[in-house]
């Protein structure tokens, strides 16, 4: 998918995906580091601060006005984690110069992006005290607001319980106590550490003069003494021990069931398309076993779905149900899993799953953000297969391969969020 990659400094690469399909150009600047409990939240807060304003555009208002001037350009903070990595940085998209009524915007957009990253707003050699406090309280609001979305909250809780002793339970957003304790100097240190030590991957999707953009970024890195960190390997829990059960009571009208499983496999083990094909068959699509049997045939719920993770080696099944139906739902879900393990997959089910997954892979080419996410993700997995290659492999997969993958799945955790007056 990548047209050209240019190494511009030690551990810093700019990757270009050239395409004429879109009316916009998309840019991303990604700092990549190991997830650590004592620093992940600082990185999260750092990108919030960088996108709050820069030296040249020293307020949210000034920055937004510039973006309006650049034809509804966007600059968004980017924070995510995958496997052992924390990714934080900036994502931007701008109209291609062909559509901006004869006012070219691409050069100015790159300047703006560089300003945000290399020229932050500082006072007395640290980030602005006011902005730091603003962003801290905003982040605390976000942490507290986790409960507003009961589905996501339940899912996070299940993963937290399941991965209690693994780095996957670390919240890169931090805790209220952690964020409260942040001082300006800590952020300033985190900023320089990121520029010096993080691996950096820059992506450009669209149609631009990539060499010109690369030399612009390079001129900034020439002034930085880079010492890229070494990221340690981590152990993956391949098999669950005893099943953990946890129930929580909140004032909700619908119960949320989340079941966490260990799959035993990650993308690094190869053949990850089999894991994804398993998921399609089991609970990843409207023609999956969970949707057809648990929702449609038993009318137990409106949502019942599963997802498998690439690098962490687990799977979650989520369902919104009446609290009294908890055990019935668990049994129904496990029964379907057992069916897959026994290769009880009809030709129609297999065929639908393959087509649906292929559709999903090929859709990636229709969005510059998806292409960016795919390539970065694959870069971090040392697996450079394109969506087209994966789609081809999927079409050749067999029921036996799916059953083989399913046999490695073990139930780890059952989490249930229910209402106060719910019985069951």
């Amino acid at each position: 998918m990548i047209t050209k990659s240019i190494q511009i400094a030690n551990g810093v690469k700019i990757n270009y995906i050239q395409t004429d399909k879109f009316k916009t150009n998309t840019f991303s600047f990604n700092f990549i580091t190991q997830i650590r409990k004592d620093s992940a939240y600082l990185n999260t807060l750092l990108v919030r601060l960088l996108t709050h304003g820069s030296a040249s555009y020293p307020s949210q208002m000034a920055l937004e006005k510039k973006l309006q001037y650049l034809y509804a350009g966007t600059v968004a903070k980017k924070t995510s984690s995958i496997g052992k990595y924390q990714i934080f940085g900036v994502l931007a998209d701008m109209l291609n110069d062909r559509y901006t009524e004869k006012t070219p915007v691409t050069d100015e957009a790159i300047d703006l992006l560089c300003d945000i990253i290399f020229n932050p707003l500082l006072e007395n050699g640290a980030f602005s005290a006011q902005y730091t406090e603003d962003e801290k309280s905003e982040l605390i609001d976000i942490i507290n607001a986790e409960i507003n979305n009961t589905a996501r909250y339940s899912q996070n809780r299940c993963i937290e319980i399941m991965c209690e002793n693994e780095i996957f339970s670390i919240k890169t957003i931090g805790t209220v106590e952690q964020v409260n304790s942040v001082k300006q100097q800590m952020l300033y240190d985190a900023y320089f550490k990121a520029l010096r030590e993080c691996r950096i991957e820059i992506y450009v999707v669209g149609n631009v003069d990539i060499d010109k953009i690369a030399s612009k970024f390079k001129s900034f890195f020439d002034k930085i003494e880079r010492k890229p960190e070494i990221i340690d390997d981590i152990d993956i829990v391949r098999c669950a021990a005893e099943v953990k059960n946890e129930e929580e009571i909140q004032d909700v009208s619908q119960g949320k069931l989340v079941m966490g499983f260990r799959t035993g496999k990650t993308i690094e083990d190869g053949d990850f398309h089999i894991a994804q094909l398993f998921n399609e068959v089991f609970g990843g699509s409207p023609s999956s076993k969970l949707f057809v049997n648990v929702r449609e045939k038993k009318s137990l719920c409106y949502t019942c779905r599963s997802f498998v993770t690439q690098k962490e080696g687990f799977m979650c099944v989520t369902a919104g149900i009446e609290a009294s139906n908890k055990q019935v739902a668990i049994d129904a879900i496990l029964e379907q899993l057992e069916n897959v393990k026994n290769a009880q997959i009809s030709d129609t089910e297999l065929d639908s799953a393959k087509k649906s997954l292929k559709n999903g892979y090929m859709n990636i080419y229709d969005s510059s953000f998806s292409m960016e996410a795919w390539t970065l993700n694959r870069e971090l997995s040392n697996n450079y297969d394109t969506p087209t290659t994966e789609a081809k492999k999927v079409l050749e997969a067999t029921k036996e391969q799916i059953a083989e993958f399913a046999k490695g799945i073990t139930l780890d955790t059952i989490y249930f969020l229910k209402g106060e007056d719910a019985n069951g």
Binding site: K21, F22, K23, T24, S59, Q60, M61, L63, E64, K65, Q68, Y69, Y71, A72, L95, Y99, T100, D134, S137, E138, D141, N144, A145, I147, N148, T150, Q250, D251, V252, S253, Q254, S285, P286, S287, F291, V292, E296, S299, L300, C301, Y302, T303, G320, I321, E322, T348, D351, S352, K354, K355, S356, K358, N359, G360, M362, N363, Y365, D366, S367, S368
Partner: protein, 435 residues
């Protein structure tokens, strides 16, 4: 053969084809060189259409709330016991449907087998099959869907706001209805709604992707029978709707960390001319960008006073029979946000809108329109919206460019009056409901 009309926009580098199929269906084909293609089959029938008759009928039929949405669910069940999702599973298409206040839409997106999928779409939406038994089963699933939305702060906020803004207008009815109202639905009444509103003359098909218009016409020929000519008379009972809001406040409590609020502005001056209505629509978008984005004084004042830490989200919804604008955010003190909002609007009226902000906001709205052409889904949705609103997707740049500062100022002064404002609040559970 129908006459195929081609429309082109050179600036965008895009074109589309449209024809009136002999069955009575309006069809749009928008070629786009992307990997996936998208099809959208829409009927002008939503939750507000609960009292209607056909021309020539003596009496109006009144149906239970939530029936349009219920019908949407039931359409997926085919007579042979198959689920329509299973049909699409054969082609790999990803299918879905949604119901809103004024329309019901069935859609799929796919990277392969587009024409075969299109046949399935046209087939299942034109073949209703309901029995008392299947209706009962659906009451269980939709019951869980409604409960899910009961726990959803955003849905509760919006419902509360519409109930405060409107006294009679049917837009205040929840799209899904209630557990009680859907319990009254029978197979017979579903058929009645189906044959009234799923007449091809009340529908539109928009497809976008690497698609050939002649192939689409052939599939329409194969799948669609000529629809009977009929005129639907809808009674929205909105004559008695006052211009002012019904209630100033609507509150409820839910598991949220901080109160969330929506300020609604009720609007009764809806132009009957489609291009005037579109012009007003985009002018309100420009105003929303000027008044509520991060460049706006209101946002920055609220932020500096620590009344908000979240964005001010805004959206404007306009139909022939209702129109309202919404500004939402999160705040520990919703009443203080409301006061600042009122003061800010009054101050802006006195000082006049800023000319530079107007130009930048107008540029933003124009750019968002251009960006929408990067997605087959957005293109198809916009084609349908424009068709139902009586405008053309390619007319929009001209409409936006015709919006002047003076026009916007006048609109702003008429649109914003305190008697048109209401606020909906969802409080955290510890705070007792004020109702």
């Amino acid at each position: 053969m129908a006459e195929i009309i081609t429309k082109e926009n050179k600036m965008l580098g895009e074109k589309y084809y449209t024809f009136d199929h002999k069955s009575g269906l309006k069809v749009y084909v928008f070629p786009k060189q992307l990997t996936s293609s998208y099809a959208l089959f829409t009927t002008k029938y939503g939750s507000i259409d609960n009292k209607f008759k056909l021309e020539g009928d003596e009496d109006f039929t009144c149906v239970p709330d939530g029936i349009a949405h219920f019908l949407e669910h039931k359409m997926f069940e085919c007579e042979n016991g198959e689920d329509a999702f299973e049909l699409f599973a054969k082609t790999g298409a990803s299918a879905n449907a949604y119901t809103s206040n004024a329309r019901t839409a069935y859609l799929f997106s796919t990277t392969d087998n587009f024409y075969e999928s299109l046949e399935y779409l046209l087939d299942f939406v034109t073949h209703p099959y309901f029995t008392e038994q299947t209706v009962q089963k659906e009451q269980g699933i939709i019951g869980q869907e409604l409960r899910m939305y009961d726990d959803h702060p955003g849905s509760r906020l919006e419902r509360g706001l519409l109930e405060a803004l409107y006294k009679h207008n049917k837009v205040r009815i929840d799209v899904g209805g209630t557990i009680e109202s859907i319990a009254k639905i029978t197979a017979e009444v579903l058929y009645k709604c189906y044959y009234t509103f799923y007449n091809l003359r009340n529908m539109v098909l928009a497809v976008c992707g690497d698609i050939d218009v002649n192939e689409v016409e052939k599939i329409c020929d194969k799948m669609l029978k000529e629809a009977p000519k009929q005129t639907i008379i809808r009674d929205y009972e909105c004559e008695n709707e006052p211009k002012e809001v019904y209630k100033k406040r609507s509150t409820c409590s839910l598991a949220v960390s901080k109160p969330i609020l929506s300020i609604g502005i009720k609007d009764s001056n809806i132009p009957s001319d489609p291009s005037e209505r579109a012009k007003k629509f985009y002018a309100i978008q420009i105003l929303n960008e000027m008044l509520y984005s991060r460049t706006a004084e209101l946002y920055n004042t609220l932020y500096d006073k620590k009344l908000i830490s979240h964005l001010l989200d805004s959206y404007f919804e306009q139909d022939e029979f209702y129109s309202f604008n919404v500004v939402s955010t999160e705040s520990s003190n919703p009443e203080a946000v409301y006061e600042h909002f009122v003061d800010f609007i009054e101050k802006t009226k006195k000082n006049g809108l800023d000319k530079e902000s107007f130009e930048l906001a107008k540029r933003t709205i124009y750019a968002l329109y251009i960006k929408s052409f990067d997605s087959t889904e957005e293109i198809a949705e916009n084609i349908v919206t424009n068709y139902l609103e009586g405008t053309d997707i390619f007319d929009i740049p001209e409409i936006i460019s015709s919006i002047t500062y003076d026009y916007t100022t006048e609109l702003f002064n008429d649109f914003y009056k305190e008697e048109y404002y209401a606020m909906s609040v969802v409080n955290p559970l510890s705070k007792e409901s004020e109702e």
